[in-house]
């Protein structure tokens, strides 16, 4: 009784265009954080302009099992298409397969599950681009040499690990005189990120740069630099949303923050679901209503890339509300 709307796979839901009731959803990594709220903002508008209803849900804490439960809940409720940003690349696979079995369109967005039966991955920017951009951001003020540290999120979050790996690759090839100290520090919350950053600075008084990977680490690392009175002496960048980083970027405690236009990722995600629901082929370079630039599609990996990362600095950060 559950393989409902949108059944029959790519050959379009009954009455392709007249999908006033078509329900699409997105499962985020956590509920409520500004980042995913911004995503929702873009996605919701696009969905209503395409005549669909949009729901977004996510676990209260980054808990992969809970994410599966939420995903299955949506499957149970007859959603036609579901996008998900999996917390880890594998644990979603069985659930995705089961949903596909029921004829539901499933894509990943924001983070991928490459070995799954997802039909498409809407990617914000390539990991390589993100990693090297953030490395460039701290390397610049460091003059390309000296010690730097990385404060990451949970050790088993794949997305963070990929970014970190790419950043380190960039450093090794482009900035051989820079040196990572203390290994990658894993944290679960802001207070802990604060402590880790402090300890890194204590153990390495000559530390010159810090990368804060998840949004939660960004204010902690910046605060640590501020408290230590090392504003301007330690370069800080990371992947914080502009709203989270703004106070620190404006005070100078952070050099910049690297991200992408999150509402646009929401737009892209909903648009992609719509294409799949309608059974349309996605061209290698597609124009998406609402996005200023065309997006690239790689049919081999079924990856749709939004564009290059965006760097937010003192000059532009105030314009972004997420």
């Amino acid at each position: 009784a559950c393989s409902t709307v949108g059944g029959g796979g790519p050959s379009a839901a009954p009455g392709g265009g007249a999908t006033g009731g078509t329900k699409v959803a997105f499962v985020s990594q956590v509920e409520g954080v500004p980042y995913f709220s911004a995503f929702k903002h873009g996605a919701e508008q696009t969905a209503s302009s395409l005549g669909m209803s949009y729901t977004q849900a996510g676990p209260a804490t980054a808990d992969a099992t809970e994410q599966v439960r939420i995903f299955n809940g949506l499957v149970q409720q007859g959603y036609a298409a579901i996008a998900v940003s999996p917390l880890d690349p594998r644990s979603m696979n069985p659930a995705i397969a089961a949903a596909r079995q029921k004829g539901i369109v499933v894509i990943t967005s924001d983070a991928d599950a490459p070995d799954s039966q997802r039909q498409l991955f809407a990617q914000q920017a390539t990991d390589a681009a993100l990693g090297s951009t953030v490395m460039d951001e701290i390397a610049k003020p460091m003059g390309g040499k000296g010690k730097y540290g990385i404060v990451s999120g949970a050790a088993d979050t794949q997305t963070f690990n990929s970014w970190v790996a790419e950043a380190r690759k960039r450093q090794e090839s482009a900035y051989p005189e820079m040196q990572l100290v203390g290994g990658v520090r894993y944290t679960t919350d802001t207070a802990q990120a604060l402590k880790e950053a402090q300890d890194l600075m204590t153990a390495n008084p000559d530390l010159k740069g810090l990368i804060a990977v998840p949004s939660t680490a960004v204010p902690g690392v910046a605060q640590a630099v501020q408290i230590a009175g090392k504003v301007g002496k330690v370069a800080v960048s990371g992947f914080g949303s502009p709203k989270t980083a703004r106070t620190f970027v404006e005070s100078g405690a952070m050099t910049s923050t690297v991200l992408w236009d999150v509402p646009q990722l929401g737009i892209l995600t909903v648009w992609a679901m719509k294409q799949l629901l309608d059974g349309k082929q996605i061209p290698a370079e597609a124009t998406v209503p609402g996005l200023p630039q065309p997006v690239k599609y790689d049919a081999a990996t079924k990856t749709l890339v939004l564009g290059p990362p965006q760097v937010f600095t003192k000059s532009n950060i105030a314009q972004f509300d997420y």
């Binding site: 409520g32 500004p34 050790a155 919350d189 207070a191 402590k195 204590t202 008084p205 204010p219």
Partner: protein, 330 residues
């Protein structure tokens, strides 16, 4: 008659052993400081120790409150989420421009009120402390999530005393914490309220038979925990600088850990707030020292777990064998 046998056991060496037993925790602490002082060159720097003090100050107050209710044979697992709620309210009011002292007052009051909710459920509703506070912990989490509403609150310290400020390298919050612990140590030893906590923790029914106001005392203890959370919340705001959706939630387990590592009996009626301070400092220095020693990040937890187990085993086993020789225990 029996006196002969008894005095034989109570000879001066027993006093020495008693002193030794009480000095175990300080001895462990000293060993720890020496070890890290040698193993991690930056460990003993004033800057580093200052960081440790500032970063543990809020936890210290939670642990002090936790000690009171553990002495009562109770527990409060809602302190972390409660701190989150108070921190959000305090930070928001401060950002809105309320005078700092008023914000402090409101935070303490709000903490007291939330503590009174726990107290009401436990004393009035006769729910076991663990159930009541597990429940309110969940509710506080949700309240913070709703209040926060996807918007982080950024702010500096509400008053300098509760911030990361240092005077001559000495962190001010450290003094606040010391004064608080001093007060509680005094209350537990010299005030009737403190003595009542011990009696209730030993045998609540027995205490009631002797006219100890069990309900009133327990209520006050849980309210006091809330009020302490109120102060701790502002310290948290002062050092982290931002209140997010899960603020404070990570603090519950460490607060309980500090109490039990310090040696206050989870069964109630035995222990004290200075022991808790010892337990707290032990864990805080351990976590800090392990990082400064350059232990690979993922191994930190392994070392901390092993060290805590070893320290407690040493403390408990030595204390027990000493107790046996002193004849204090059956």
């Amino acid at each position: 008659m029996t006196t002969a046998a008894l005095t034989a056991r109570a000879e001066p060496s027993a006093r020495l052993l008693t002193v030794l037993r009480d000095a175990l925790l300080p001895i462990l602490l000293l060993a720890e400081v020496i070890f890290f002082g040698v193993a991690a060159p930056d460990f003993l720097s004033a800057a580093n120790l200052g960081n440790v003090v500032i970063n543990s100050a809020d936890l210290a107050l939670l642990a002090a409150g936790m000690t009171l209710v553990v002495l009562l044979a109770g527990i409060d697992v809602s302190v972390g989420p409660m701190l989150g709620v108070v921190a959000w309210v305090g930070a928001t009011l401060f950002v809105a421009g309320l005078p700092p002292l008023l914000v402090v007052l409101i935070s303490v009051l709000l903490g007291g009120v939330l503590g009174a909710v726990n107290a009401g459920l436990i004393v009035g509703g006769r729910i076991s402390p663990i159930i009541a506070t597990l429940g309110t912990a969940a509710v506080f989490k949700t309240i913070l999530f709703v209040l926060w509403d996807s918007t982080d609150v950024f702010t500096g310290p509400v008053i300098p005393l509760l911030g990361p400020a240092r005077a001559g390298g000495v962190p001010l919050v450290g003094l606040v914490v010391l004064v608080m612990f001093g007060i509680f140590a005094y209350v537990l030893r010299r005030r009737v309220f403190g003595r009542r906590l011990f009696a209730i923790g030993n045998d609540a029914e027995g205490a009631r038979l002797l006219g100890v106001p069990v309900g009133r005392t327990s209520f006050a203890a849980y309210v006091l925990v809330g009020a302490l959370v109120g102060v701790a919340a502002l310290i948290y705001v002062g050092r982290v600088g931002v209140v997010q959706a899960t603020a404070g939630q990570e603090l519950t387990l460490p607060a309980i850990a500090a109490v039990v590592v310090g040696g206050t009996s989870i069964l109630g009626g035995e222990g004290g707030v200075l022991r808790t301070l010892g337990g707290l400092v032990f864990i805080a220095l351990l976590q800090n020292g392990v990082v400064l020693m350059g232990v690979p990040p993922l191994w930190n937890g392994v070392l901390v777990g092993v060290a805590v187990a070893l320290a407690v085993a040493f403390d408990v086993l030595t204390r027990r064998s000493l107790d046996k020789r002193i004849g204090a225990q059956k």
